[in-house]
Symmetry: C2
Subunit: 351 residues, 2 copies
DNA sequence: CTGTTAGCGCATTCAA
DNA sequence: TTGAATGCGCTAACAG
């Protein structure tokens, strides 16, 4: 025993490889070999080591292992999302997790609630922890600061919202196309006063969905009424207030297009409160749970958060595996799901 | 320059403290002082260091830092939940995250989908990563294996389901009481054939909710009909099938008690499909989004996942801060929310 | 097959 | 105020 190491039978905290080595009467390297399943260890010795590991409750310290291994990955990725309590983000995260778990990679998730500072803090924290890569649903308007991290080997995949001022992979949905389809459907049924209720305009999805809304009007040769366009509904309370205001106007809209799931839910509450669900057409972006069971059913533009998350994760792990092809931009299709609320005919204000 | 260290101007990966020290022409210790905000550094020198840090894009490697710091925490906690895509778990996780973020602690989340093996793997992974503590929504029947971790200083708080074979903190809801209240309400309205649709019986919440169901019958002096009790509906498909089967019997139940959110949603679809939502009473455990907007509204026993998550996180951090008081068991109250479906009177089977 | 030495990136101890 | 040595727990490279 030439080790000057600890002599504790019962280490205060976790046992280390040295404790195991001493107890088994072997060198640390042999323990390391056994722990890592390296070949070339005499069975008898291996058994002694295993017994010692068992007895001490030894668990390899992954941080130390990673530190020493040359160019070793930490086996962790970061996922920065808006709010894990939002089903869209939660479902996406779940899909990422699924792919990660299959590779034995853990996921560090952070909700940032549309706060650019929290986003920056979250990213910095992930870098400090040397995650192998990150999946970002950004809130900030500029992502150039990530270029530095990229240059240092950090792999970043954007989801839901594309990178700005940065070359990075992106997986999102056809926001403009989906909005356009929804609004065209409303126009086709004769609606003209179609309100748009959307999220903060710094969010690209909101911008794209509004663009789709406008495009549908252009396509139909109908002018948009700017009075019917409301932005910045990033809080349910605001969405409710906006919907209530719109729907109590003398010339209220005959249809609503709500550009995000929480706004859709808020609008549903208001419509119900005013007993207008049967009278005002409504299409939302993002599916909502139980939307099919309401009367009328809630028509939505459905995107597939599971597919987005899975695709993003696979893209990220592909990069980690060495794929250094050109930056990819994956736009997933969306689908208009007609359940009733979007197929209501326009009704004059009888109020 | 007496350091034998690297001489790269542009390190391949991340810059280390040595790169910074060389560039600034100081010792590593001085860089360390600046990075950690320790006092006693000449401003001029500090500035040189800061400039070098900036220039190299240096980020302290937290793993290395933690490794060296004496008894230092990793600033991370693990959260093991059933499925982050389930709103109950997602909301709980969000609350934990909120508390953690305020303390600069990151969260490692793992969904385990009712798979005990995945749970064990997730826990082992968290231990390898030396998280400071963990919050567990367990799926396994026995948690004694965690005693070892506990002895080694790992702090564990259970949520939703209490520890078995282990002394550990726990935060959950009054499952039995909530179920009892719900079923009593149905009995009070004259229902006798009240079906129970529940999750796997290895899950304590399912057991407790069933116990509450039974207790309500005992309280009322009514016998339960075992034919109306269905278990193991841990997959939506199964829940739907079970509900469909129950509701197509000649002597179908006049009321349903669905003991979990996904089962409630499955039952709602079936009831709707059979046009029975107005005829068969229904109370679910766990609130469901938009449940208030259905016709009739979905009566539920509501628990507060945010409060559970927050409480669990605060409990955990309290332990990390040195609270070594006796093990705590926090049972949060639940609330019967009457929205219509639970207040329907019993109706004879009309054929 | 096994062990020794060195060092990952950093913080601590102690000396200058 | 600053820096050189030492070692956290582990593995790589190189002995024997």
């Amino acid at each position: 025993m030439s080790h000057p190491g600890p002599d504790l039978e019962h280490p205060a905290g976790h046992a280390t490889i040295r404790h195991v080595a001493e107890l088994a009467g072997v060198s640390v390297k042999s323990v390391s070999r056994v722990v890592n399943g390296e070949a070339g260890v005499r069975p008898e010795l291996a058994e002694r080591v295993t017994a010692a590991i068992e007895q001490l409750g030894y668990r390899r310290n992954l941080a130390a292992s990673t530190l020493r291994r040359r160019g070793q990955r930490t086996g962790s990725i970061g996922v920065v999302i808006q709010d894990v309590a939002n089903p869209f983000a939660a479902t996406l995260l779940r899909a990422v997790e699924e792919v990660a778990q299959r590779r034995g990679v853990v996921v560090l998730a952070s909700s940032i609630d549309g706060d650019a500072e929290r986003e920056a803090r979250a990213v910095a924290e992930l870098v400090r922890r040397r995650v192998d890569g990150m999946i970002l649903m950004p809130t900030s308007a500029q992502h150039g600061s990530l270029a530095e991290e990229q240059r240092l080997g950090m792999h970043v995949v954007f989801v839901d919202r594309p990178p700005v001022g940065l070359d990075a992979d992106y997986v999102g949905a056809d926001n403009a196309g989906g909005a356009r389809t929804a609004v065209r459907a409303l126009l086709d049924r004769g609606h003209r006063r179609i309100a748009y209720l959307g999220d903060t305009r710094t969010i690209s999805t909101a911008v794209e969905r509004l663009a789709g809304y406008r495009q549908a009007f252009v396509d139909a040769g109908v002018e948009t009424d700017e009075e019917l366009i409301v932005h910045d509904l990033n809080v349910s309370r605001h969405a409710r207030a906006a919907a209530a205001e719109l729907l109590s106007r003398r010339d209220r809209p005959t249809a609503l297009f709500t550009a995000q799931n929480l706004i859709t839910i808020a609008a549903l509450h208001v419509l119900r409160g005013l007993e207008l669900r049967q009278r005002v057409a409504h299409i939302g972006f993002d599916d909502v749970e139980l939307g099919d069971l309401l009367t009328p059913g809630v028509s939505v533009v459905r995107q597939d958060p599971t597919a987005i998350g899975r695709t993003a994760a696979e893209l990220l792990f592909g990069r980690l595996d060495g794929d250094d092809g050109p930056v990819r931009r994956v736009i997933r299709p969306v689908e208009l799901v007609e359940r009733g609320s979007g197929e209501l005919a326009p009704l004059a204000f009888e109020g």
